[in-house]
């Protein structure tokens, strides 16, 4: 092991990759969060032991009252510190890559992980355009969220543990995107699931929260199952699991639209759907909001849940070869997007709204990568990371403030229920403004980031396969979803920040703006939410009004940046299906539909603000239960209940039946019965032993007769 580590470092320092790109200590990017995890983990154990001692002595540890011990001050620096370092390193590499035309990814192999027979899986990382974009997002947004967390989690007794988990998560997320083969990715894949599990259940004292973590893990595992199977098929076909080898050989080895590739893509889709919370496996994500809000921002909005999109984008060659698989991805995405959006309409928990919004947006991304617009999908992934992280952090700030207010007056109201909020803009203006920026971005209003990324996806969905009715339907669903998005986001903003304050007079005094270390990340993310979308403006749009008639700094940058990765897939697509249409299904080009989209969205926002603003909203305790269709939406279409009825309970009953009946009655029963029977026979046999001499003599004679008979006759 030590030798391998040494060689890993040597690989980092000594080698020069082809194409003129010389990555700077890529291994260190991975190692840094791991280091942070190690340090914070040790601190967490120390702190945990101390509070355990306190607990045994009969008192609850309360850090808010006493001075923060070292175990709590150190993570403040270590946690975000390693992230900053990782981000800077990533940035250095990113900049380094900017200058070169890198056709082949740079692969760094550290040691052989699993090698037996034909299989050889290396512990290797791969640096290419896609992974670097992802790394930038992960480390960048991750760093901001770490900083935010310092303020948010300050008073939590599990502070070091929190940072340990968070660091570990980043490590695994980086592994996921940096891995040079499927198993490496799978390490990250399951690793992030694990961290998600740990972080959702961070406040494990609450049974609900612990349950949510468990649910997330198990549902994720369903997806992992798909991914595993996909890997098995790939290995059976290609004899390797390296990206380069598989994607390089795929066009020649696989038959376009063949069963194998279709199966692979469908199983990959299952995996992606699990991680990215797509129908039918989306159910864990809303529950995952049980975790601390920064976690929701990082894991359940910006990074982990986008892994599915990354996976599809990474496997673009395969999906391009499998039209059915790709269509399935797009369809799943569209259904998810629309479905989640409808649920978001009637949620009162601010994080639940954002959660369903995330599911919905992930659906958009799936649509994008499903129709072959991989760059667009990744683009939306990126912008979404900015504005959704911002939204979550903003919500976090709100909750933080609400929590303080309610805590101060010991009011047992739900700090996350928007019906209890209202008028918060007066107390937390910075949060209010930044969140509006994000809302406009997600609503797809020009010139915010979401406008460019989402509309690009919608465009591609509509124009990807002109002959197919399916894509037209999906296109319609996408537009509808976009409008719903604008509405429920507006609803959320209005309920939270506008109107009269509903927290109550005493509580309102305690409402306050978040501290600087929380607002600064908000600010940065707000900036990114505005400008993040400018990197991939289509040429025609850039030249139009929407691009300020060419004022935007670049056009199609991301498309071109990702071209080395998507070119093969694109070529296959063009060969088989033809190029994308230049007009939408109902006619009209980029610019027209850009105008229509932003106009509609703006209209929805304004109308929505009016409608919601004019409604009388009462605090949760006074609110009537939703009725009618609203109740169905509020209760999330009863999907959880359905799953419970058709999956969870039957399996549990079956398990119990297996145990009680098959194990205990049939198998053990048989075994014990054999034993009892033997003893019974023994008892029965001993009955012949009457103690009567005549009987003995008779049996003896009978035996003699038999022996005589057998021998003679």
């Amino acid at each position: 092991m030590s030798e391998s580590t040494l060689s890993a470092v040597a690989a980092d320092v000594g080698q020069v990759a082809g194409g003129g790109f010389d990555p700077v200590l890529p291994g260190l990017i991975l190692l840094l969060p791991l280091l942070g995890f190690a340090v914070n983990g040790a601190l967490a154990l120390a702190s945990g032991s101390r509070s355990a001692t306190a607990l045994r002595e009969g008192r609850e540890e309360d850090h808010a009252s006493s001075a923060r011990p070292l175990t709590h001050t150190l993570p403040t620096w270590v946690g975000p510190g390693v992230m900053l370092a990782a981000f800077l390193l990533t940035a250095v590499n990113f900049v380094g890559m900017l200058g070169v035309e890198l056709a082949e990814p740079v692969i760094r192999t550290y040691w052989t992980w699993m090698a037996t027979g034909a299989l050889s899986v290396e512990a290797a990382i791969q640096l290419d355009q896609l992974s670097l974009i992802m790394m930038m997002v992960i480390t960048g947004v991750g760093f901001l969220i770490h900083v935010f967390s310092v303020g948010y989690m300050k008073e939590d007794p599990g502070y070091p543990r929190y940072f340990a988990y968070l660091n570990l998560f980043v490590f695994f997320m980086l592994t996921l995107v940096m891995g040079a083969n499927f198993p490496m990715m799978f390490v990250g894949w399951e690793g992030v699931g694990l961290c998600s599990y740990l972080l959702i259940g961070f406040w494990f004292r609450d049974r609900e929260k612990a349950n949510a973590g468990k649910k997330a893990f198990i549902v994720n595992r369903v997806g992992d199952f798909g991914l595993l199977v996909a890997m098995f098929i790939l290995f059976a076909v290609f004899g390797t699991l390296d990206y380069q080898a598989i994607f390089g050989a795929a066009p020649d080895t696989l038959v376009y639209g063949g069963a194998t590739v279709t199966a692979v893509t469908l199983f990959l889709l299952l995996g992606a759907a699990g991680k990215s919370a797509q129908v039918p496996l989306y159910v864990w994500l809303p529950d995952a909001m049980a975790g601390p809000t920064p976690v929701s921002a990082l894991i359940h909005a910006a990074t982990m849940v986008t892994a599915g999109v990354y996976l599809v984008a990474r496997s673009s060659v395969l999906f391009a070869m499998a039209p059915v698989g790709a269509a399935a991805v797009a369809t799943v995405g569209a259904i998810t997007a629309l479905f989640a959006a409808t649920i978001a309409l009637k949620q009162y928990d601010i994080k639940k709204v954002l959660a369903y919004s995330t599911v919905s947006q992930l659906g958009f991304m799936f649509m994008g990568v499903g129709v072959g617009a991989y760059a667009a999908g990744v683009f939306h992934l990126m912008t979404h990371a900015f504005f959704k992280a911002l939204l979550f952090l903003g919500a976090g700030a709100v909750i933080h403030s609400m929590h303080h207010a309610l805590h101060a007056t010991h009011k047992d109201w739900d700090a996350q229920d928007m019906r209890n909020m209202g008028g918060l803009r007066r107390f937390m203006p910075a949060t209010w403004i930044t969140m509006w920026v994000a809302t406009l971005a997600i609503a797809g209003i020009w010139p915010f980031a979401g406008f460019f990324s989402k509309d690009e996806i919608i465009w591609y969905v509509g124009t990807s396969a002109p002959a197919s009715v399916l894509y037209t339907v999906l296109w319609g669903m996408a537009i509808a979803t976009a409008l719903l998005t604008a509405f429920y986001m507006t609803r959320m903003m209005v309920m939270t920040f506008h109107g009269p304050n509903r927290t109550g007079g005493a509580e309102a005094k305690h409402l306050h703006e978040a501290p600087l270390n929380m607002t600064i990340p908000l600010g940065i993310l707000a900036v990114l939410s505005v400008f993040g979308g400018w990197i991939n403006v289509p040429g025609s749009v850039r030249d139009s009004f929407f691009g300020g008639f060419g004022l935007l700094p670049m056009s199609d940058w991301l498309d071109r940046w990702l071209e080395p990765l998507t070119a093969t897939a694109y070529q296959i697509r063009v060969d088989q299906l033809g190029a994308y249409a230049s007009t939408s299904p109902v006619g009209g080009g980029h610019v027209l539909w850009g105008a229509i989209a932003t106009g509609l969205a703006l209209a929805v926002v304004i109308i929505g603000a009016r409608v919601v603003g004019s409604r009388e909203i009462r605090p949760a305790v006074d609110s009537p239960e939703p009725t009618g269709f609203g109740k169905i939406l509020h209760d999330k279409w009863y999907v959880d209940e359905l799953y419970d009825r058709i999956l969870v309970r039957p399996i549990q009953s079956l398990s119990r039946a297996c145990w009680r009946w098959i194990d205990q009655v049939i198998i053990d029963g048989t075994v014990n019965a054999v034993g009892s029977m033997a003893r019974g026979f023994g008892w029965f046999g001993s009955l012949v032993q009457t103690g009567q001499l005549n009987t003995y003599a008779f049996i003896l004679t009978l035996g003699a007769l038999v022996v005589l008979g057998v021998l003679i006759l």
């Binding site: 103690g691 001499l693 005549n694 003599a697 008779f698 004679t701």
Partner: protein, 97 residues
């Protein structure tokens, strides 16, 4: 006369066997066993007429054995009578199962 003697011997043997099966008096059971031995002796004697004088020597030995058995057997019967005041084997069922 050989076969006839042998058959007689067999019949006597079987009668002895029958006695052991149906009698409950230990002494009589033993008596029947003596009858069996006697039957066998008859066989020996019958064969000895054809196969040589050894058969009679065997009978001689068998008689010795019978005597020895009688001594020991009757001793045992006396011994058990002291415990049970009976020689009816139906009573002797302390040992069973």
């Amino acid at each position: 006369m050989l076969v006839e003697a042998l058959v007689l011997s067999a019949i006597l043997f079987v009668i002895g066997t029958l006695g052991v099966l149906v009698r409950r008096n230990a002494i009589i059971m033993f008596l029947c066993i003596e009858l069996q031995l006697n039957a066998v002796n008859l066989s020996f004697v019958a064969f000895s007429r054809y196969l040589g004088i050894e058969g009679q020597i065997y009978v001689f030995f068998v008689m010795t054995v019978a005597a020895a058995e009688a001594a020991v057997g009757l001793a045992i019967i006396i011994s058990i009578f002291r415990h049970y005041e009976s020689v009816n084997v139906e009573n002797f069922n302390l040992l069973k199962w």
